[in-house]
C-alpha cells in the first residue's frame, strides 16, 4: 500500500518552486545596455527552481521505491515552544523585549518539565539581566525601547 502522506514534503517543495517561478516572472527586466550579455535578475532564481523541481522528481521516485515511514507528530513541548515564539513576538512588540524574554524563558522552563517554580523564575530573570548587562555595558549595544528599557535609558 502506498503511504500517501509521505508525499507531503515533495508536494510542498514543488508548490514552493512554482510559486517562486511565478513571482520571479513578475520581476522587472533591465534594459539591454545594463545587462548586456549577462542574465536578467529573474533568470537565476528560475534556473534554481527548475533544478529544484528535477530534484523533487528524483525525491518522489526515491520515496516511491523505498516507502519511508511517516513521521509521527511532535509532542506538546515542541509545539508549545513554537507558540511561545509567538508570545515573545506579541510581548516584544507591545511591551518590551526583555519582558518577552522573561515570560518566554519562564514558561519554557515549566513547559520542558522544570517543577521547581523558583528555579524557573530565577533562570528567567537572572539570565536576561546578565546578558543585558554584558551587551549594554561591555558591547555598548542599545536595545529597543519598551517599558523596562525606557526606565533604564531614561
Amino acid at each position: 500500500m502506498i503511504k500517501k502522506n509521505i508525499y507531503f514534503v515533495p508536494l510542498f517543495l514543488a508548490i514552493f518552486s512554482f510559486v517562486v517561478i511565478a513571482v520571479a516572472l513578475q520581476l522587472d527586466t533591465s534594459p539591454e545596455m545594463i545587462v548586456g550579455d549577462s542574465m536578467q535578475a529573474r533568470s537565476f532564481p528560475i534556473f534554481l527552481m527548475i533544478l529544484n523541481l528535477i530534484l523533487v522528481a528524483v525525491l518522489i521516485l526515491q520515496f516511491y521505491k523505498n516507502q519511508p515511514n511517516p513521521i509521527p507528530l511532535e509532542k506538546f513541548p515542541t509545539w508549545g515552544s513554537m507558540i511561545l515564539f509567538l508570545v515573545f513576538y506579541v510581548l516584544t512588540v507591545f511591551t518590551d523585549m526583555f519582558i518577552g524574554i522573561f515570560v518566554v524563558m519562564f514558561l519554557m522552563c515549566v513547559l520542558w518539565g522544570e517543577k521547581r517554580i523558583w528555579v524557573a523564575l530565577l533562570t528567567a530573570s537572572i539570565t536576561p539581566a546578565l546578558i543585558f548587562m554584558l551587551f549594554d555595558l561591555v558591547l555598548k549595544i542599545r536595545f529597543p525601547r519598551g517599558i523596562l528599557t525606557n526606565i533604564y535609558y531614561g
Binding site: 511532535e74 515542541t78 515573545f88
Partner: protein, 494 residues
C-alpha cells in the same frame, strides 16, 4: 614570509589578552561540546554576536577556538554517557562507551584527548603550509574558475550530512535561492522583498545562522525532555601507556591524514572524517574483533580524524571562501563581518592576521588537551544540566544575539522564522548545514556566472574551455554522479 609567519604565530603567546581569551573560549568550547545538542556549530552561532565589537584576529580566534575545543569535547560525553556532544563524536561512542563500561573510562578519555590533540596540531601545521600554497594557485582564478569552484563546492553538499544526497542538494538550492533575496547586484532590481526595504541588501547571515543552528536545535531538543541519562563512573583521566601508544600511533597518523584531507574538501567536515577515520582504523587493525567492544584504536581513529578535519576545513574557508562545514560557514561569516575578505587578498595583504589566527588554533589545541586531561571529570558533570534550564538560556542568547548584530528587531524575527524552518527541515530529514553553505555560496555563484557571461559575450560554454574551470566542473559531475555510475558498473559486472 616564513619568518613573518613564525613571528605572527609567536606573537599570540606574548599577547596576554589573546591568551586569556583563548583560555576562556576553550573552557566555553569544552562546556558547549559536552552539552548534548550544543555542538561547535550552535556554539559558534551563539558566540558570533559577542565577537562583533572585538578586534578581527581576536574575533576569529574565539570562533576557531570554539570550533576545535567543542569538536574535541563531544567525545567526553560520548565516552561517559554514550551521548555524543557533537555529531563528530558519534563514532567515538562505538568503542569509547563500551571501554568506559568496562571500568576504563579514564583510559578511553586519555586516548581521546591525546589523539584529538595530535590530530588538531597536525592539521594546523598542514593549514600553515597548505593554505598559502593554495592561495598562490587561487591567485590565477578569474570569474569562470570561481564559478566552477563554487559549483564544485555546492555539488559536495550532496554528502555534507546523513540526510541523503537529494535532500542535501535541495537544501543547498534553497540556501542559494535565499541569497537572491534583496536587490540584484548588477541591475539593482528588487527580488522577493515584497516591499520590505530592510531586506534591500539581502538576508544577513548572522540571524539566519542563529535560527538555523541554535533555534532549530532548541526545537529538536524539546523532543528529548523525558530522556534519562545514564552516567559511567570515572576516577581520573589516564594518559595512554607505552603499550597503548605502540598500538595506536599508526592509527593516529593515518587518521590525521584522512581527517585533514576530508576537511580540506569543500563541504565535508569532522563528522564524515571521524566515520572514515574509524572505519579505516578497523580495516587496518590486527584486532578487528575488539572493535565495538572497547577498542582503543577505534577511539584514536575517530578522534584524531575529527580534530584533524578542523584545520583542514579552514583551508578552503580562508583561501577560497568556501566553507568546509557548518561551523566554518559561521567562521567565514565572522571573517566577512570583520572585513577580512577570504581569498588571495587575505594571504597577501593580511598575512600577519592569518598566522595569528593559525597560532591561536595551535594554542587552543594545547589548552583543550590540558583541560581534557585534568578537568574532563568536572566538565562531564556539566552535561547533567537539565534541558529545562539549558535551552531557555539558549533561547535568550539567540534572540539577544540576533538583535545585537544590527540593532534591528527584524533580525530577531528572521532568527525565529528560520529556526522553525530549520526544525521542520530536520524533522523531514533535511540537514540545515547545506542551507547555510548554499546561502554563503549563492552570491559567489551568481556573481561569478554573470561576470563569466560578460567575459565571453554570453557564450556560457566558453567556461568549459578554461582548464581549471573544466577540472572543477568534472569534479562536480563526478561528485554528484560518481557513486551512481560506480554502482551501475558494479551491477553490470555482477
Amino acid at each position: 614570509m616564513f619568518e613573518q609567519a613564525i613571528g605572527a604565530m609567536a606573537s599570540v603567546v606574548v599577547d596576554p589578552y589573546l591568551l586569556g581569551l583563548i583560555f576562556v573560549t576553550t573552557v566555553l568550547g569544552v562546556i558547549i561540546g559536552v552539552l548534548p545538542g550544543l555542538g561547535a556549530t550552535t556554539g559558534a552561532a551563539l558566540l558570533l554576536p559577542f565577537t562583533l565589537t572585538m578586534d578581527p584576529v581576536h574575533a576569529i580566534a574565539v570562533l576557531a577556538t570554539i570550533y576545535v575545543s567543542a569538536t574535541f569535547a563531544g567525545s567526553i560525553t560520548a565516552i561517559l554517557i554514550n551521548a555524543p556532544g557533537t555529531s563528530a563524536a558519534a563514532a567515538t561512542t562505538f568503542d569509547g562507551y563500551p571501554l568506559a563500561q568496562k571500568g576504563e573510562a579514564g583510559r578511553a578519555l586519555g586516548i581521546a584527548v591525546i589523539s584529538s590533540t595530535v590530530g588538531g596540531i597536525f592539521s594546523v601545521l598542514i593549514l600553515c603550509f597548505a593554505a598559502p600554497l593554495l592561495a598562490r594557485v587561487a591567485y590565477e582564478f578569474r570569474s569562470p574558475e570561481y564559478f566552477a569552484l563554487t559549483v564544485f563546492g555546492l555539488s559536495m553538499l550532496a554528502s555534507i550530512s546523513a540526510g541523503g544526497a537529494v535532500k542535501n542538494l535541495i537544501g543547498g538550492i534553497f540556501g542559494v535561492w535565499l541569497s537572491t533575496i534583496g536587490a540584484e547586484r548588477v541591475t539593482g532590481i528588487e527580488r522577493f522583498m515584497f516591499g520590505n526595504y530592510e531586506l534591500y541588501e539581502g538576508l544577513h547571515f548572522v540571524p539566519i545562522f542563529i535560527g538555523l543552528f541554535a533555534i532549530s536545535e532548541l526545537l529538536v531538543q524539546s523532543k528529548t525532555v523525558d530522556k534519562i541519562i545514564k552516567t559511567v563512573a570515572m576516577k581520573a583521566v589516564k594518559l595512554p601507556t607505552k603499550e597503548d601508544y605502540k598500538k595506536i600511533w599508526k592509527t593516529i597518523l593515518r587518521s590525521c591524514g584522512i581527517g585533514t584531507f576530508i576537511g580540506v574538501l569543500p563541504a565535508e567536515g569532522a563528522t564524515v572524517a571521524s566515520m572514515i577515520g574509524y572505519s579505516e582504523a578497523r580495516r587496518w587493525s590486527k584486532n578487528k574483533k575488539e572493535f565495538g567492544k572497547g577498542s582503543i584504536e577505534g577511539i584514536a581513529g575517530a578522534e584524531a580524524a575529527n580534530n584533524a578535519a578542523t584545520g583542514g576545513a579552514m583551508v578552503p574557508t580562508m583561501v577560497l571562501g568556501i566553507p568546509g562545514s557548518g561551523t566554518t560557514a559561521i567562521i567565514l561569516v565572522g571573517l566577512m563581518v570583520h572585513g577580512l575578505r577570504p581569498g588571495v587578498y587575505l594571504f597577501t595583504e593580511q598575512v600577519e592576521k592569518v598566522y595569528q589566527i593559525f597560532g591561536s588554533m595551535f594554542i587552543a589545541n594545547v589548552m583543550f588537551m590540558l583541560m581534557g586531561l585534568y578537568a574532563a571529570k568536572i566538565f562531564a558533570r556539566v552535561s547533567l544540566v537539565p534541558t529545562a534550564i539549558l535551552w531557555p538560556i539558549v533561547f535568550a542568547l539567540s534572540v539577544i544575539g540576533a538583535y545585537a548584530f544590527q540593532g534591528q528587531l527584524l533580525d530577531v524575527w528572521l532568527a525565529l522564522i528560520f529556526g522553525v524552518i530549520g526544525f521542520f527541515a530536520r524533522r523531514f530529514g533535511f540537514s540545515v548545514a547545506p542551507i547555510a553553505v548554499g546561502l554563503i555560496l549563492g552570491e559567489m555563484v551568481e556573481t561569478n556566472l554573470q561576470h563569466s557571461l560578460k567575459m565571453f559575450d554570453g557564450a556560457w560554454w566558453m567556461i568549459l574551455t578554461q582548464p581549471l574551470a573544466l577540472m572543477f566542473l568534472i569534479f562536480a559531475f563526478l561528485g554528484l554522479c560518481g557513486p551512481m555510475i560506480f554502482s551501475w558498473i558494479t551491477k553490470q559486472k555482477k
